[in-house]
Amino acid sequence: MTNSINELIDSDVIFITGSNTTESHPVIGAKIRQAKKKGAKIIVAEPRKIDMVEDADVFLQITPGTNIALYNGIMSCIISEGLEAAEYIKERTENYDALVATVADFTPEVAAEICGIDAEDIKTAARMYAEGAKGAIVYCMGVTQHSSGTEGVMSLANLALLCGNIGIESGGINPLRGQNNVQGACDMGGLPGTYPGYQKVTEPAVKEKFEKAWGVELSDKVGLTLTEIVGKAGHGEIKVLYIMGENPMVSDPDLAHVEEALKNTEFLVVQDIFLTETAQLADVVLPAATFAEKNGTFSNTERRVQMVRKAIEPVGQCKPDWEILMDLLNKLGIEKTYASPEEIFTEISSVTPSYGGITYGRLEELGGLQWPCPTADHAGTKFLHSGKCARGLGLFKPAVFKPSAEVPCADFPLVMTTGRVLYHYHTRTMTGKVDGLNAMCPESFVEINPDAARKLSIVEGDKVRVSTRRGQVVVTAKVTPKLKENVIFMPFHFAVGAANTLTNPVLDPIAKIPEYKSCAAKLEKVAWDWSEETDQIK
């Protein structure tokens, strides 16, 4: 997030797109509703009529995969009505003319046609967003998980720049990170192209710094991304794959392919807290400690580094992941030992400029610090790009709308999208072990519009077969007016009736994010006894 969660409460207008906030980030959902109560206007652009729509002043029920068309339509309206922040654009941005040229053709009418909504609603939203002095954009995987995800994000950045909302309090563009420490995993260099603090592996000076710090020679070649790793593992090019605390057997697209790939991997190590679907395929399984059994830090979605503290001893012979990794590093010839996570953190601070001023002592004292925090006397950064953008001038990068890689056709007439439910978390590794949560949401399902259901003679609770070009699953139908007639929705949490058996592994070429949020699908009613064969079908 460029800004902080609590800044949302004081926003004048909040544009929520591709985020089912109240279910995926419930506490942020609550904060947005607090903002609404204080008078903020809420715009929601979503394929589903999510709970947040109740609070929305404008609801744009777009077809999955049409985000960029919508954003361009909004920008076109803002520019044609002269509502842009002209002064801000002049002083703080560049390449504005390119944006004007790109969105010129994208009138609200054109966008409305593509998105399947009313042009007037686009105009209302455009005016509302442009006229709010402090406008925040909140988005999530509904924007990124498309073959044009990166362009979707850029497009939102264009919109924010257009209205002068970058670098101000209660404004900004705010991706909501889905997992507790996905921010930290990125910050810490859990990425093929960057060391901790987003320092490029290709940069000789950086490489040198880390070689000195770690006492080894390092590669200057950008590594493989997750999807590429899984792909290469399947072809035998990756011989040893070490997976820590991830469950690609449920979370990755086109699961049949993933399973084959992992089975083909010569040596698979999985380190986790449960024997997950992925761990079951491993050659070595290492029992890790949960967050309750160790010390450390997490970095949340607003870049705030906060303490994790040990409440109980690890169960059985489990060890905290850091201990396991330290042991292995030692076995592999990297001799350095750490008495505690704090010592690791000290090393992190010493090589990561944005974490440079963060210490355990300060975290204990302040409760948390938001990076960038380069020095020990720096108070942390509440919102980014204050005064000027990090790169100097804010760069408009116009994005052209492209349809999803897979669009409905005669054989697969529906658009399928995926998402979360309130009661589960990711692949249910944790929530699946909690009775109450399972009781609230026991099994996979597919949401379908009532009119569409009627045409297929489907009623609530029927077993239906959902198929795509990748495979098919049998799940329970939920008939709901939340969706438009040509759209279906599945939660991605379940290993049985897994949505990702169906999703399209096509990647966004830049960020390498799979297109989970839009693929072509078909729905059929099946006889009851099919349910027993769900597993086999999968």
Binding site: N180, L224, V284, A288, L332
Partner: protein
């Protein structure tokens, strides 16, 4: 910000305009008991001011003033420790107790019940106002918590947190007079309401009226609390893990920078995986196609040997690692260090994109 001069119990102090009497007293270290007061409310005038336990004397005011919801004014002279205040508070506690069961011996909340503390403070073993008591059936329809309105003191914290902070608005107040009590719409079970089971009402309940459906029996004094960060989504809610022995038995929200005392259903109630019997407890290695228990040394040696051998035979690019958005910064750091420094490749990634 302008400062106002006030005197509390003879001690003069300056407080910021817009402060409540309670703030002024706290500033001087003078304790005023509270019950319905919700420190989440940023504006004191949104306080319910319903319980009336925090009443104090204010010079030139006809009646006693609730300290939590009365703004200080210039020159205000406040007395918190007079006979009149003491008597009034004692009667208020006595009245609450008169509509409350005396089952502290078996009540799960014993030891962390505000009413119990107040009775102790004011020396009330039992009520002096014996009379009719409300009698409601227990509502256990929610999967995560139960509601026993016989223990409700109608402080409104649950309704306030649900309506003003969580903003689900699943509950309100029903009936009037002596029968006033929190209700889900039409006074039906919680399961028929719009409740999203965030449990924030449970967290703020001062008595045993709202209790988590716990698998473990424990008394509050057997509990240790550990401040930590929630391990579900990326909001980074701060919370206390409540532990008894080596078991996590509960969660309570803290006023973290991101969550301000709120949690969601997963953070509040989704902790039973920690001590779940299905947890992996020993390393496993695959022998003859089966995963069998092994020692750490066996597992480590196997991995180290394989890594070294593969590196030697196929080069570093034949190795890769997937780090985790679930583990700590320190662990992510070590993981990428292992892949980069020990495996010799930059092929490290995690599921940020998923």
């Amino acid at each position: 910000m302008s400062m106002l001069n006030v005197t509390v119990d003879g001690q003069a102090t300056q407080v910021a305009a817009g402060s409540a009497i309670l703030d002024a007293a706290n500033q001087l270290g003078i304790e005023i008991p509270t019950l319905c007061y919700l420190d989440m409310e940023k504006k004191f005038n949104q306080q319910a001011a319903a319980c009336r336990i925090c009443v104090v004397e204010v010079e030139n005011r006809r009646n006693l003033a609730p300290a939590c919801a009365t703004p200080v004014m210039e020159g205000m002279i406040i007395k918190t420790d007079t006979e009149r205040v003491h008597t009034a508070r004692k009667i208020v506690v006595d009245l609450m107790l008169s509509d409350h069961p005396l089952d502290c011996l078996t009540c799960e909340q014993a030891g962390s019940c505000v009413l119990q503390d107040l009775c102790y403070q004011y020396g009330l073993e039992q009520t002096t106002f014996a009379g009719q008591r409300n009698d409601y059936p227990e509502d256990a329809t929610n999967k995560f918590y139960s509601r026993n309105l016989n223990k409700c003191v109608a402080c409104r914290r649950c309704v306030t947190v649900c309506s003003n902070f969580q903003n689900t608005k699943a509950i309100g107040f029903g009936d009037r007079g002596f029968n006033t009590h929190p209700v889900a719409p039409f006074d039906r079970g919680m399961d028929e309401s719009t409740c999203v089971s965030c449990g924030n009402c449970v967290s703020v309940c001062p008595t045993g009226a709202l209790l988590p459906k716990s698998k473990e029996k424990f008394r509050s004094w057997e509990i240790s609390k550990t401040e930590t960060t929630c391990s579900y989504c990326g909001v980074g809610c701060q919370m206390n893990l409540l532990t008894k022995g080596n078991k996590v038995v509960g969660v309570e929200p803290l006023n973290g920078a991101a969550n301000d005392g709120l949690l969601c259903v997963k953070g509040k109630f989704g902790f039973n995986f920690i001590n779940h019997p299905d947890r992996l407890t020993t390393p496993l290695v695959r022998k003859d196609g089966q995963l069998v228990e092994a020692t750490w040394d066996e597992a480590y040696s196997l991995i180290a040997d394989k890594v070294k051998a593969t590196k030697a035979e196929f080069g570093s690019e034949a190795l890769a690692g997937l780090s985790s958005a679930r583990v700590t910064n320190e662990e992510n750091y070590l993981f990428q260090k292992m892949v980069r420094a020990a495996f010799g490749t930059n092929s490290v990634d995690h599921c940020a994109r998923l």
